[in-house]
């Protein structure tokens, strides 16, 4: 049995409710790690002994771990609301075999014998694992060992491919290894901070706060040389703090960086000694740069920037030794993403600014454990511990370590190809772990069809009802965040523990456990005899150290100091950056803050490589039919495809719908109205989104968020639009530049529907083309719009809610057909069940107050009477749309406080309402409200 499971017995109640083990006598604190972005923040969860049985998160309180080096106690809105996402209702609790509940033994026996039969008949490549960046390092390790080490196929890939493979490829080309040279302290210490293709204020708020803190300190010290430059076609929230924002033409980044290389050379700012001693290829890189970006004027023209802005940026970079260039998806997600990464690295090699305090190129990752996945060879073309699949020496080393002669020798299928192979019958059994490819992969209907005819589909997931689950023959309940135990690695190579704060739900088990038991049933008894994650981690550390020296195969990834780790040391493991090669005198593992400061790289000759870059425009350019460039990205309070954040009411309140940002002049040309719905079309598909008119985006461009899937929106998937162009080296898709066109969606009606339970079946798209679901506190929110007239709204509402006339429900109705207004509410036993609000325009009443009624024990008379007016009876005001997700402060509350208390700064607002005082990501919005007030006051004074 699993140690963890036996130490904290699962006291699962029938209704699927979490309950901590009763044996816990007093309140205790568990330190774990946030499961969202690559920042890897430490989280401290206080578990009180008296825990209400009714609520998963009752009795728990969560805060940032003040001892964690990544975040030092702070958390962003996503992290601080983590407890809201512990929803026991939606969990898969028991193993299921062909739709029947079975024991683990039955499920595993059946799975193993079916896998064995398929491998015996069709060979190892007929089996595949499709995983996720959500897996812990230990899960990844066992999955890779099983597939590549013992089954003998490299058919294992994950969604990490879509995230940072360009950065990986760029690192490998330049350094000979996938190494992030610097650490977060460099963000504190840099004097010039360059952010390229990163909306850090929203996507990595905690890192951004470190930069802001450094700026503040510099201001206090009156250091005029401390600067922040943001390179992004959009003016994002990140730009609010920037000293210079370069809103360059989408896709023109490589030219900008090439021009800078030329500038450094021409202004004698090269570190010639470093270049000569520790690198190769500088001359050709410079000459290539010179031919594409000979001078500032050409750069300005190609990038559509003002020459003086380009000059300013170049001058600042040239004159500031302590420069960090942090880059993210705006660089990576491009058909020339790898080249752009190398164009950045070239600058740091040329100036010798790498691996030293406050200097270096810095890849900011999106996934919590994408780095951990890379460490164990999580992708179809990698081996564990930064070993290469295509190198026989590496395969030999691994075979000796694992005592296996089955090491996979050829790359397996990558994500999209894997499902093609299933479709073609080449892969006959697939084990999907912690992801939902039927929704998340491009061309989802094709994925569904492939799985429908696949001989064996296994799914390990914590959620019961996913679209993929419906197709699985064997379903295995997996532990989720809060229950899992293992390690993750963040963007600065820092290995942190994720620890369990709750017992496993139902019969859920960790993924490494299920993988190990299958491995043993397939005949690899000893190799998979793992009983606890620390045993896996120790093996992982030993492998990283195995023959890792110049006489063997020297690798950057080395945990030799942890090779003897035991259960207690693993439990106590503090966040530490790899390589971890030494122990302190009192036995504490010593990490490594920076690499390459000594000029030693992991290429054969130990020298870094310049890569000569010829800038390439995006593969698909705008034309007469598709004249606009579509950009995609994250929003503040959602993460990835919303599978976890979508469960949080607070996080769903900030931007509850997919939207499209468009410049005012462009909107006017296309006859688009603020708040209405637009149809965006590309060669590849269409999408509907709510229109946000803003001059934060340039003319000729659009921006849509990446998060919405068909789970949350009928036609809100940006993936449907995005061109299938990929980077030839990394395979990473070009998600930031797709030619599109936009036009108004001619809605006959706009509506929202709030209901206590999710709708029993999806609304037919024929009835309602635009549908978005968001999670509210105690209710589900559906934003709807349709192009065809609805004759009888009451009937329509009953049909959507699946309520017939015979049930003794109470219906309230309000109609003003001449204005296109219809509202109705369903009340059962005094409780509000659903409320539908329909209008002819997108200007519908606020949802906040109506939503709050779902939390009332019973609807009181006054609320019942004002229910369909959608506002509280006069006297109690609505707080308005959510601005601060951390403290749940609405726009009206802030606006009123600004006016009533004469607040004049975000800090003052924070003092009065707490808004903006946690993660600070809403401060730009608060500032905008302050500005509105300022304008009102000035207008009044002039009037």
């Amino acid at each position: 049995m699993n140690r963890q499971a036996s130490a904290i017995p699962a006291t699962q109640t029938g209704a699927g409710v979490f309950k901590p083990a009763p044996s816990q006598p007093a309140s205790r604190c568990v330190k774990t790690t946030c499961p969202y972005c690559g920042t890897g923040c430490g989280v401290a969860v206080q578990i009180s002994p008296e825990v209400a049985a009714s609520n998963a998160s009752a009795g728990l309180s969560l805060s940032g771990d003040s001892n964690h080096p990544s975040n030092r106690g702070t958390l962003c809105s996503k992290g601080i609301n983590l407890l809201e996402t512990l929803d026991p209702a939606a969990r898969l609790l028991h193993p299921e075999l062909d739709g029947q509940r079975v024991s683990w033994d039955q499920a595993l026996d059946s799975a193993a014998s079916r896998i064995r039969a398929i491998i015996d008949q069709h060979g190892p490549d007929a089996f595949a694992i499709y995983g996720s960046g959500q897996l812990l390092t230990e899960d990844y390790y066992v999955a890779n060992k099983l597939m590549k080490g013992f089954i003998g196929s490299a058919n294992i890939d994950t969604n990490s491919r879509l995230c940072m493979s360009s950065a990986v490829a760029g690192h490998k080309r330049a350094f000979g290894s996938d190494t992030v040279p610097g650490c977060y302290e460099d963000l504190d210490q840099a004097e010039l901070m360059v952010l390229a293709g990163s909306n850090m204020a929203w996507c990595h708020p905690i890192l951004f706060n470190r930069i802001l803190a450094a700026k503040e300190q510099a201001a206090k010290a009156a250091n005029p040389n401390h600067r922040l430059v943001v390179i992004d076609p959009r003016r994002t929230a990140t730009c609010d703090a920037a000293d210079l924002h370069l809103a360059l033409k989408p896709g023109s980044d490589a030219t900008l960086f090439n021009g800078l290389l030329v500038y450094l050379a021409d202004h004698n700012r090269l570190d010639r000694r470093f270049v000569e001693t520790h690198t190769q290829g500088f001359a050709s890189a410079l000459s290539q740069a010179r031919s594409s970006a000979p001078d500032i004027a050409s750069v300005a023209r190609i990038c559509a920037l003002q020459p003086q802005d380009v000059e300013t940026f170049y001058r600042w970079f040239a004159n500031t030794a302590k420069s960090v260039t942090a880059f993210s998806q705006g660089i990576n997600q491009s058909s020339s993403g790898t080249d752009k990464v190398n164009a950045i690295i070239n600058l740091h090699l040329a100036s010798g600014r790498i691996g030293k305090p406050g200097m270096g190129p810095f890849s900011i990752t999106g996934q919590p454990n994408a780095m951990g996945g890379r460490e164990v060879g999580g992708l179809a073309n990698q081996l564990a511990a930064h070993l290469e699949l295509d190198d026989p020496m590496h395969r030999d080393l691994l075979g000796r370590f694992w005592n296996s002669n089955q090491i996979a020798a050829k790359p397996g299928y990558k994500a999209v190809d894997l499902f093609r192979a299933i479709e073609e019958g080449k892969v006959k059994a697939v084990w999907i772990m912690a992801t939902n490819p039927v929704d998340s992969l491009p061309d989802a209907d094709r994925v569904r069809a492939a799985l429908e005819q696949c001989e064996l589909v296994m799914l390990s997931d914590c959620m019961a009802a996913t679209d993929t689950a419906a197709l699985a023959h064997i379903r295995l309940p997996a532990t989720g965040w809060g229950e899992r135990d293992g390690t993750v690695t963040n963007a600065e190579r820092c290995i942190s523990r994720q620890r369990a704060i709750l017992p496993a739900s139902g019969e859920a088990k960790p993924d490494w456990w299920a993988l190990s038991r299958i491995g043993q049933r397939l005949g690899f008894e000893e190799a998979f005899d793992y009983q606890a994650p620390w045993q896996i981690f120790r093996e992982h550390a030993r492998l990283s150290a195995f023959e890792n020296h110049p006489r063997g195969i020297l690798r950057d990834f080395n945990l030799s100091a942890l090779a003897e780790i035991d259960a207690d040391a693993y439990q106590a493991l503090q966040p530490t950056r790899w390589p971890i090669r030494t122990l302190s005198t009192d036995g504490i593992p010593q990490g490594t803050a920076r690499l390459f400061g000594d000029g030693k790289f992991f290429t054969a000759d130990g020298k870094a490589r310049f890569v000569a870059i010829t800038p390439r425009p995006p593969i698909n350019s705008p034309d007469a039919s598709y004249p606009l460039v579509l950009n995609t990205g994250r929003i503040r309070d959602q993460w990835h495809t919303m599978t976890r954040t979508g469960l949080s009411p607070r996080l769903s309140a900030h931007r509850p719908e997919p939207f499209v940002e468009i410049h005012p002049a462009e909107a006017k040309r296309q006859q688009l109205q603020q708040g209405a719905i637009a149809r965006i079309e590309s060669h590849w598909g269409t999408m509907l989104a709510r229109i946000t008119i803003t001059d934060n985006i340039g003319q000729g461009q659009l921006f849509v968020p990446m998060h919405w899937t068909s789970q949350f929106a009928s036609r809100g998937r940006m993936g449907a639009l995005v061109n299938p162009a990929v980077d030839p080296l990394s395979g990473q898709p070009e998600s930031k530049q797709t030619p599109v066109r936009i036009k108004p969606f001619n809605a006959r009606w706009h509506a929202f529907l709030l209901c206590r339970e999710p709708l029993p079946r999806p609304i037919a798209v024929a009835d309602c083309a635009y549908q978005v679901r968001a999670t509210g506190a105690g209710f589900q929110r559906y934003e709807l719009a349709g192009a065809s007239k609805v004759a009888d709204w009451h009937r329509q509402a009953r049909q959507w809610l699946n309520v017939d006339m015979s049930t003794p429900d109470e219906w309230l109705e309000y109609s003003d057909p001449a204005q296109g207004v219809y509202r109705s509410a369903l009340i059962r036993n005094g409780l509000l069940q659903a409320v539908l609000v329909v209008g002819a325009t997108p200007q519908l009443p606020e949802r906040e107050w109506l939503g709050s009624l779902f939390n009332a024990d019973a609807l009181n008379d006054s609320d019942r009477r004002s229910l369909l007016s959608a506002r509280p009876a006069s006297g109690s005001a609505s707080s308005g749309p959510l601005v601060c997700a951390c403290f749940g402060v609405g726009r009206n509350t802030i606006t009123e406080a600004i006016a009533a208390q004469g607040l004049d700064s975000a800090a003052a607002v924070g003092c009065a309402l707490k808004a903006g005082t946690n993660c600070g990501a809403c401060v730009p919005e608060i500032n905008a409200l302050l500005q509105v007030r300022q304008v009102q006051v000035e207008t009044a004074e002039q009037g």
């Binding site: 109470e810 219906w811 309230l812 109705e813 309000y814 001449a818 369909l868």
Partner: protein, 436 residues
């Protein structure tokens, strides 16, 4: 010597005129009031609660005899003082007992009489109108021994009578020609909520039928025969089928009458010394049955009697309410129409017995029906009266007056004015009978 003012009629309209006059010009006239009923004045519109036992007669008395004395007013109450003739040449009122009372100004406020159906047997004992305290007393007497009662007419007055008799323990059936009750105030949807509420209280209804004949036993009513052949047993029949202006005196005295005594905008009859107010008058072709316009008339008339001479009466169709405890309904203006120009706003909460409908034309409120939740009636009435452009209110209009903060500063609604008016309407909008 002060000029003499004689008032014929001690009812709501006459007394209100008197009160306003006393406050406007207390010493202008020597006043004589002639009343048929031997009391001071009482609030006739509260007879329904008296019948239902929810109020006592004392509670609805407006002025007792002592009040008249204190004001120096001569009150001639009782049958013997009934005004029989107006000698317009000598400027005298001739009473039944022969007494002649001279006037310099005369106010006729003789009110109306129930309109009794001219069907066979209508003169039997136990067939009553619902007009005065005597009718109430008679009904109460008959109700003591229980049994069946029939109310003919499901207008406001008929339903109030039915409610009262039901509360007194009688088994009440309401007979009505139209297909639903209050068909002059409600649409069918509101009426069906009302019907359900009244049926729940035990009142039965025969709708869409006519009364054919009243059968009697020993001269006392025993049953009502309907035109569909059904016999409804009854010890008491209340006819609430309308009222007719009481104009006999005026007509006999040679004053111009049509359906009522014809008055101009100053409430003056064709004889310039003689004024008339209340249910006995006809103003620009309209006769009256609800109290609100009566009070309007009273204040205009008093203004002229006080020789201020500035007020002018114009009729605004009043809103109506039903005085049946526990039932709230409100109706005003156009309440049912097939006019395609008219836009409808509905609100329904049937489980709570709430129904509201607003009728709008050219962005102005032209009518409303409220059932179950009538609190916003006065505001709607105000919006209709002032022909307010509804554009800023349309969203959520049916939920009532928006909170002050959301009111646009440019709207022409003075809150002072509106609160005055709301209180007026809430206190004064009651039925005194049905307009014929």
């Amino acid at each position: 010597m002060k000029p003499n003012l004689v008032i014929i009629g001690n009812g709501m309209a006459g007394i209100r005129t008197l009160e306003v006059l006393l406050s406007a010009a207390p010493d202008r006239y020597q006043i004589t009031v002639i009343g048929k009923e031997p009391f001071g004045s009482y609030n006739r519109i509260l007879l329904s609660p008296v019948l239902a036992g929810e109020s006592s007669f004392d509670e609805i008395l407006i002025h007792d005899r002592a009040w008249y004395e204190a004001q120096g007013i001569e009150l001639l109450a009782g049958d013997e003082f009934e005004a029989m003739f107006i000698d317009r040449v000598r400027h005298q009122v001739v009473c039944r007992n022969g007494k002649r009372i001279g006037y310099d100004r005369l106010l006729i406020a003789t009110g109306s009489e129930p309109l009794l159906l001219p069907i066979p047997g209508a003169d039997s004992q136990g067939v009553l109108g619902f007009r005065g305290i005597r009718d109430v007393e008679r009904m109460q007497q008959l109700a003591i021994s229980g049994g069946h009662a029939v109310v003919i007419g499901a207008g406001l007055l008929g339903l109030e009578a039915a409610h009262g008799l039901n509360k007194l323990g009688m088994e009440v059936t309401v007979v009505h020609r139209a297909r639903y009750p209050l068909n002059r105030q409600l649409d069918s949807e509101a009426a069906s909520l009302l019907l359900q509420a009244l049926e729940r209280r035990g009142i039965r209804f025969r709708l869409g039928v006519n009364s054919q004949q009243i059968h009697s036993l020993d001269g006392h009513v025993s049953a009502l025969e309907l035109d569909d052949g059904e016999y409804l047993p009854a010890r008491l029949i209340v006819m609430a089928t309308g009222i007719t202006p009481n104009i006999e005196l005026a007509k006999n005295s040679g004053l111009a009458c049509n359906r009522g005594i014809r008055v101009n905008d100053c409430l003056q009859t064709f004889d310039p010394k003689i004024y008339a107010v209340g249910e006995c008058v006809e103003h620009r072709g309209t006769t009256f049955g609800l109290v609100e316009p009566l009070f309007e008339q009273a204040s205009v008339c008093a203004n002229h009697l006080a020789a201020h001479g500035v007020a002018s009466y114009s009729y605004l169709k009043p809103a109506t309410r039903l005085k049946v405890s526990g039932i709230n309904l409100f109706s005003m203006g156009v309440f049912d129409t097939h006019d395609p120009e008219v836009e409808l706003i509905h609100y329904r909460d049937p489980a709570q017995g709430i129904y509201k409908k607003l009728l709008i034309r050219n962005n102005q409120l032209i009518g409303a029906v409220l059932y179950g939740d009538t609190g916003d009636g006065p505001w709607f009435h105000e919006l209709m009266r002032d022909a307010v452009d509804l554009s800023p209110y349309r969203d959520g209009l049916i939920f009532g007056r928006p909170p002050v903060t959301t009111l646009s500063a440019t709207t022409d609604l003075s809150s002072d004015l509106s609160s005055d008016l709301s209180s007026d309407i809430t206190t004064a909008t009651h039925s005194t009978g049905q307009t014929p």
